[in-house]
Subunit: 199 residues, 2 copies
């Protein structure tokens, strides 16, 4: 037997953000019957691991064990070379409890300028994990490399998108059409790997 996600399976999405469910449903091509961890009143585990894959695995396993359903979780963020990979797994936490990414982007700019480095290299990472209750967990990771861009540009996307210009592009993720971003994003690459592994 090899691992495979059967079409029509009921999956719990390990998020308490209801907006994420339709987005993930679309990325999974509508193949599954999705419910969120929030709808099932599952507790949110502490993200104690030091890597994106580690935290995605931890969240997926916790949701699978608590629900008895196959669970999918993601973890993602922006890593800046001159900051030793920060904010990295702390990307969401830098935005604070109100999820203020204008504040988080200003923090990245302040810290990057304080280093005195002129190296703008940074990358987005998206980790995805699928866990079977009592069974295996499968994880993948996608990345896209690019350059820090100040001042921020564009109102599209979310998170750190307005300060990220992907390699080979003149536009930031915040300026790009969703379809153009989706063609090259860390998230899209992670979902492609997940599909290659499990569909």
């Amino acid at each position: 037997m090899a691992i495979r996600l059967a079409r029509g399976a009921r999956l719990v999405v390990a998020t308490h953000n209801p907006g994420k469910v339709p987005e993930i449903a679309a990325l999974l091509e509508g193949r599954f019957n999705l419910v969120s961890a929030g709808e099932l009143n599952l507790a949110e585990p502490d993200e104690t691991e030091s890597t994106f894959v580690g935290n995605a695995v931890l969240k997926a396993r916790a949701a699978a064990e608590a629900s008895g359903l196959i669970a999918i979780a993601d973890d993602s963020g922006l890593s800046v070379a001159a900051l030793g990979g920060d904010p990295g797994i702390y990307s969401a936490r830098w935005a604070g409890p109100t999820k203020d990414f204008a504040l988080a982007m200003a923090e990245v700019e302040t810290k990057w300028r304080a280093t005195g480095s002129d190296d703008p290299h940074c990358w987005f990472t998206s980790a995805l994990a699928v866990s079977w209750p009592g069974g295996p967990v499968v994880a993948v990771e996608g990345q896209v490399h690019g350059a820090l861009t100040f001042p921020a540009r564009g109102a599209r996307g979310f998170g750190y998108d307005p300060i990220f210009t992907p390699e080979g592009s003149a536009l930031t993720f915040g300026e790009m059409e969703p379809s153009a971003k989706d063609a090259i994003s860390h998230r899209a690459r992670a979902f492609e790997k997940l599909k290659a592994a499990l569909f």
Copy 2:
């Protein structure tokens, strides 16, 4: 495409302990062509994660990326309920650089007695991870529950085996025939799950 480990594949075992390779070869039923991370001079990554699965995933991914080969890693340990799960992922570290498990078992006894608890509940966990370079990582976990047993009994097995009596047994793992231990051990359960997922 579903994930599957093809018979005859060349796998790197993410360990610098040469004794582990033949043991893992036997557990994998001789299906693969194994080489150790030590033979390939791969660096040992820091075990920075907070869970067994997290550390197995981290070690397997590091070995796969460094070698370009499919990698398999394990992480295991003893968790004591009255010690909040300690030594857990620190099980090997409690034995110190000389891998002195008599010292580590004495430390467990001292700490457990200091709690004043009479709850002997403890469990062994074995996590296994298989990582493809640039691709997915698959992880599983097996456990066996039992009771702390002082004084230690038996000279078989290794690590904390002499102070662990599995549920339903009168003998410690240190006293059991290898075949009897292998029928119920955390490690055997993890390998059964791995085979069910990938063979």
